[in-house]
Symmetry: C2
Subunit: 187 residues, 2 copies
DNA sequence: CAACATTGAGTGTTTAATCAATCAAAATAA
DNA sequence: TTATTTTGATTGATTAAACACTCAATGTTG
């Protein structure tokens, strides 16, 4: 198996479990089952590994948000799909999601928080929101504020579902959470 | 001035600016303007310092939430005060708030995330929400989910206001943000 | 064989934590 | 009051361990 990928996976796990400050590169290579030296063959430095890991996960997440969006035609349906894409990805990839959360709140750690591909995905989403505002489907507020509160609600939903996993398939809960989200946006 | 306090302040600043993994104890004592050794006079280990810092900040935050709540008598007024107490504290103490965010998303780092005093404050808040649910003032959902989404929205509001500080005194924005929050909770 | 992947012992540096030595101030004794 | 002792705060040089990263040697593949 691809050792680079093994290293990234091991790093994700350990960074989330122990934090950046308590995961030496030696622990990462050990967890990945490879030699200590090979890490520096694939990543120039530990910080480079962190950067690349962050960017690759963020890409994966932002890509998943718009998944199958073209299959839905109603505006509200699209919004609901984005909502469910978001929290489903976050729960199916909770380690990766928690890694993002951990790093999004430091000014440091990741030197490259934006990346053309990621920015483009955000722009796509932002434009969709803008069009919804124009159609008066949602509140007329700064679209970045709207995006932010959506991510805030998704984070809280993921935190909650991580604590109570049985609720994930509880249709009543899912419906209520969506309503909570959508009501916050309605004009 | 109290050197213990100086150390905690310096640590907050550096942890947020550089992250836990990139702030040696020597940097903390230097920033605080004290000797390297004194840190270990006040805190047994670096991890102890992190723990104590987390608990003290969390206490401060949870205490601020209910500030002057007894001066307001209407239910909705209380909820709105809690909302504004929360985001005002977070913005007035943005370093401390970002430190909390940073650590709340790691399973590690802080070994003591709960503390009787903190838990008590949460319970107080939780009971208030419960009474609101009973009065059908807000949605009938799990109160912990409601609390969580409130913190999610506050976090996003703080992130936004940090980026656009001029909005803090924009009454239209403040009103819209409150409405966004309250609409998400209305039955 | 050539090119690249992989190893793990080795290197120099940084780190948390210690500790003997000062210092200031308070408590006690004369 | 003054002299003496005790206490705890404070220092910074020191230490032992942990760390990121290197590299010569070895393996693998086409």
């Amino acid at each position: 198996m691809d050792k680079r990928e093994l290293l990234l996976e091991a790093a994700t796990k350990l960074f989330v479990e122990r934090g950046l400050h308590a995961t030496p590169t030696s622990a990462i290579s050990k967890e990945a089952g490879v030699s200590a030296g090979i890490l520096f063959h694939y990543f120039k430095t530990k910080d480079d590994l962190i950067d690349e890991l962050y960017v690759s996960i963020k890409k994966e997440y932002t890509s998943s948000i718009m998944n199958e969006i073209d299959k839905i035609h109603s505006d509200l349906g699209k919004l609901r799909l984005i909502w469910s894409n978001s929290w489903n990805w976050a729960i199916d990839n909770s380690l990766k999601f928690r890694f993002l959360l951990q790093l999004d709140n430091t000014s440091c750690a990741v030197r490259v928080k934006s990346h053309p591909e990621i920015v483009a995905k955000y722009e796509l989403f932002n434009n969709l929101i803008k069009s919804y505002v124009d159609k008066e489907l949602i509140k007329n507020m700064d679209t970045y504020f709207i995006m932010g509160s959506m991510f805030g609600l998704i984070t809280s939903m993921v935190t909650y579902l991580t604590q109570f996993p049985e609720k994930r398939n509880d249709q009543v809960f899912i419906e209520q959470a969506w309503e909570l989200f959508y009501n916050s946006l309605k004009p």
